[in-house]
């Protein structure tokens, strides 16, 4: 009896957490899954109508959904590529044998921890055509002003640049931590063998840094894919739907049109894609721990 009670203890302590998480995530997802089979304009006063998989087939053929998907992929690809490239260069500089570099590590993390919606609105101000500082500086160096967030072809790259600004320090610090943990021996051996510094980077640093790189890229991909705050604060998906990502598309159908069935089907597709990434992430990080 005593032993059995003891064995129950771990379950008793886990139970509240698991129950709470089931209540605020799994139950809502089942609720959403059910809802995604209905057509329901929440504010229209009309009853819910069962439509089967119609919401999902509507997603497949909706050009606005294709637009949101393409924007999300562009946004994610641009921010990951740029923040990774710049982040790696800065991390290598931070890792060089030069004195007085630790102060930079503390200061550059500021963009990453600031409230994202504050960042979004600040950049909306900076990008402003008339009073924004970016156009002012362009004018100072003799370039023409750009309607950054007003031009459909400029707005999405402009938003992605804000994301690059916000998250490059994060990339830098992860890659720096990775560089710091590299062993010295292979580098010394390569130096003795006469490898050039590029060869050492290409054939020793990059392969050894792969775990840190995969963590950074996967976490950032999942984050960029679901990103909402700064996009909402700067353009709400506009002009038109030029900067609408999957999150904003879902938000618009859910909380502007109250077309809850359609919005949940879109949200669940997003969830599925991110779960897939989580699975890859777990495979890569856990494989590393076992080795």
């Amino acid at each position: 009896m005593f032993l059995r009670r003891k064995d129950m203890l771990p379950y008793l302590l886990l139970l509240p957490s698991i129950l709470l998480l089931l209540g605020i995530t799994i139950y809502p997802i089942i609720y959403a899954l059910n809802l995604s089979f209905y057509k329901w304009g929440m504010t229209s006063g009309e009853p819910m109508v069962y439509v089967g998989l119609d919401n999902y087939s509507k997603l497949v053929s909706d050009p606005e959904y294709h637009n949101a998907l393409a924007n999300t992929l562009f946004f994610t690809a641009m921010t990951i590529t740029l923040s990774f490239t710049i982040g790696l260069m800065i991390a290598i500089l931070l890792n060089s044998e030069v004195g007085g570099l630790s102060i930079y590590r503390t200061v550059i993390m500021i963009p990453t921890i600031l409230t994202p919606v504050v960042i979004g609105i600040s950049f909306r101000f900076l990008y402003n055509y008339d009073i924004g500082l970016i156009n002012y500086f362009l004018g100072v160096v003799g370039l023409t002003k750009q309607p950054w967030l007003g031009d459909p072809s400029l707005a999405l790259p402009a938003l992605a640049l804000v994301d690059v600004w916000e998250w490059t320090p994060f990339m830098t610090l992860i890659l720096f931590a990775g560089l710091q943990s590299l062993p010295d021996a292979p580098f010394e051996a390569a130096q003795i063998d006469g490898a050039s510094s590029f060869q050492r980077f290409r054939y020793i640093t990059l392969p050894l840094l792969k775990p840190a790189i995969s963590v950074a890229v996967l976490i950032r991909t999942m984050d960029a894919f679901r990103w909402f705050d700064t996009i909402y604060a700067m353009t709400k998906g506009g002009p038109g739907i030029a900067t609408e990502t999957l999150s904003v598309f879902t938000w618009r159908h859910g909380f502007l049109y109250f077309d809850m069935g359609y919005a949940t089907s879109s949200a669940l597709v997003m969830l599925f894609i991110i779960e897939l990434f989580c699975w890859i992430y777990m495979k890569t990080t856990f494989k590393r721990e076992r080795e």
């Binding site: 698991i18 809502p28 600031l114 919606v117 600040s122 009073i131 679901r226 705050d229 989580c278």
Partner: protein, 274 residues
Amino acid sequence: MMKGILKTLFTHVILIIFTVIALFPFVWIITNSFKTRVQVFAIPPVWIFEPTFTNYADLLLEGDFPSHILNSCIITLTSVSLALFLGVPAAYIFDRYRIKSKESMYFFIFTIRMGPAIAFAIPLYLICNTLGILDTHIALVLIYQTFNLPFVIWMMRGFFQEVPSEIDEAALIDGCSRMKAFFYVVLPLVKTGIFASAILSVIFSWNEFFLASVITRSVARTIPVDMPAFIGLTRIHWEKMCAAGSIAAIPVLFFALIVRKQLIRGLTLGSIKG
């Protein structure tokens, strides 16, 4: 020798440029929060001016903003306390005990943390609407567990892993109960971890915008939800937005400085021990 000096110079110049770009928007927001409305709109920008505190005074002495600061504090502190209270023991058990299908539970917790907020937001909004708890503190405190609780469990499991289980066993042999061993022997050894998890959860909760904007209207409204409201249709309050943004940023900066050593570990859910 010459090459060494050049290298030092080059490294510092590039890093200074990078740091200036990283800091400039933030410094500019703080500067603007001390300007008058006319100065904020001036082009070319006014660099030297006599600071005014009217933006802060307007925000803090009239209107709803003070109550939104209070809401942010209440919701952040309650939700982080709840996450620690439930999450720290759960993490300990995840690390120490053999439990059926533990790894799949653990994977489930991770996927919740990384899931898109919008996927939870629509059903949670409808459920809160049915329960009549939209725009209440308790609704947001519970909903914030979708990211705080998984985060605490993941972070703390990593810290418990660093404490050898021989320590618990020694305490048990010395006659401690399991509870006592956990509270008096193991917990003090993971103090840093609890502290870092708490502060990072505070930062995430304080900054959270999307769920708060969906669940709250006026009574439980938090600071981030206020931000877009300064840019209204009729009048654009850049100067007040800058003051409000600075108020939102100060605690976060302060906390981030305290946990700067654990920041990367926290942002990668323990995958990188930076």
